[in-house]
Symmetry: C2
Amino acid sequence: MDTKFFLGIVLAIVVVFAGAAVYSGLTKNQTAVAAPAAGDRDVLYQVSTIDALMQGVFDGIRPVKEIRRQGDFGIGTFDALDGEMIVLDGVVYQAKADGRIYPADDRMTTPFATVTFFDQDRTEVTEQPMNLSEFSSAMERRLPTGNMIYAVRMHGTFPSVKVRAIPAQHKPFPTLAEASKNQSVYTYTNSTGTVVGFFTPVFFRGVNVAGYHLHFISDDKKTGGHILDITIPAHTTVVYDITPGFAMALPTSGDFTGVDLSKDLTGDLAQIEK
Amino acid sequence: MDTKFFLGIVLAIVVVFAGAAVYSGLTKNQTAVAAPAAGDRDVLYQVSTIDALMQGVFDGIRPVKEIRRQGDFGIGTFDALDGEMIVLDGVVYQAKADGRIYPADDRMTTPFATVTFFDQDRTEVTEQPMNLSEFSSAMERRLPTGNMIYAVRMHGTFPSVKVRAIPAQHKPFPTLAEASKNQSVYTYTNSTGTVVGFFTPVFFRGVNVAGYHLHFISDDKKTGGHILDITIPAHTTVVYDITPGFAMALPTSGDFTGVDLSKDLTGDLAQIEK
């Protein structure tokens, strides 16, 4: 590998906090408006935290329109945990529990999402078929560091893709673990499509899913969801976008301010994600 | 407390990644330049992570000039762990192990810093004298949520302020725990000055110092450092800036990519910080 020089990156992030009733004490009256600046491509933009989602903070706080403004690639969920979000080539899709994919409207909202602008920095090619955990281990040995955020994209015909989507929840919201008991699971064979997701470092535990968090969408945009497992064939090209910038918007309204985010929920999360 | 409405905030963050040799594989060639946009005041901007600093990642990666661009208020350290950084009213100070304060040059660099633009959102007034842990407990009961980032500022004549500063380290860098064994500790009585720092939520563990992380600088700009303990008199006004946005720049060069950031260092950190 060559050692090159980092010539300079300028990142600009414009985060629009939409109008929302605010938890008492968390009040702001700001109306400053800024135009999006160029060069904001190497930032993982995140709405809320994974542990808040784990605790049932499912109220959508940011519109899909803003998500598209922060990235053209990514994953998340929707208001009331209504399905899995896939953002691919600038289009936002909703994989619902009925097993279908719907285009997401700009006015829909999300309680948790992570997006970036995808730029290819690095590619790896799988040498043999592997499942999700084998893929994770194999890439751990190949990536230059596990202390970095990477956006991950791969396209192929996958012998087996097991995905889930969770139906919309109702208030009072359950925890993610409770909600996932009613999840729909679909296993597709020889499905051609794209894996969309991120690798985040272990030190992001609580904030994001440490390790890989991947969603799937078929080329015909008919099937997809949160990947529980996948068979990745040999000779699949895995594209990585190295993303050293991180931007997060914490909710200032709704359940977020009241839930207990002090516990380490890594173990609970691992059970739900697989 | 009133429940008000969040009228709308637009945040823009411009993160300038200065030229630096990049760990092989972590390469970028981007030259996009963006002008800082208005309205970027409610973002905590952070360079690197506290656990990286704990592990001895002391190479300065961002210039003071950039720190000033991201905020007028905050704390951090300098290249090689040479003293404590205090950013107050847009001026960057260096509290060195010799017990003196120096103005920081724009070309100096930092391996870890957190800054924001300080705007008063909320004030609390202490009812009785308290030390640092009593202050932390008292404010825990008063703040609307512990799941939020707050910038914290208070001015007064403090009966006792115990501060530390660590002398510049040499390569190969030790851990922060090792380096802190040679720290200089100064205790000032009836010192008039400003406490500058942040409260970050427990779920930031590994990323930032969960709870309060406070530095001190005297009004005459002669003494200060990282606060190990402080006696806060009754009737002190504590000003909070609610900061729902978080932006972090991970190092793409130097030791960061190689250190083990998988462990929970919360306990080690608590020993060093007090």
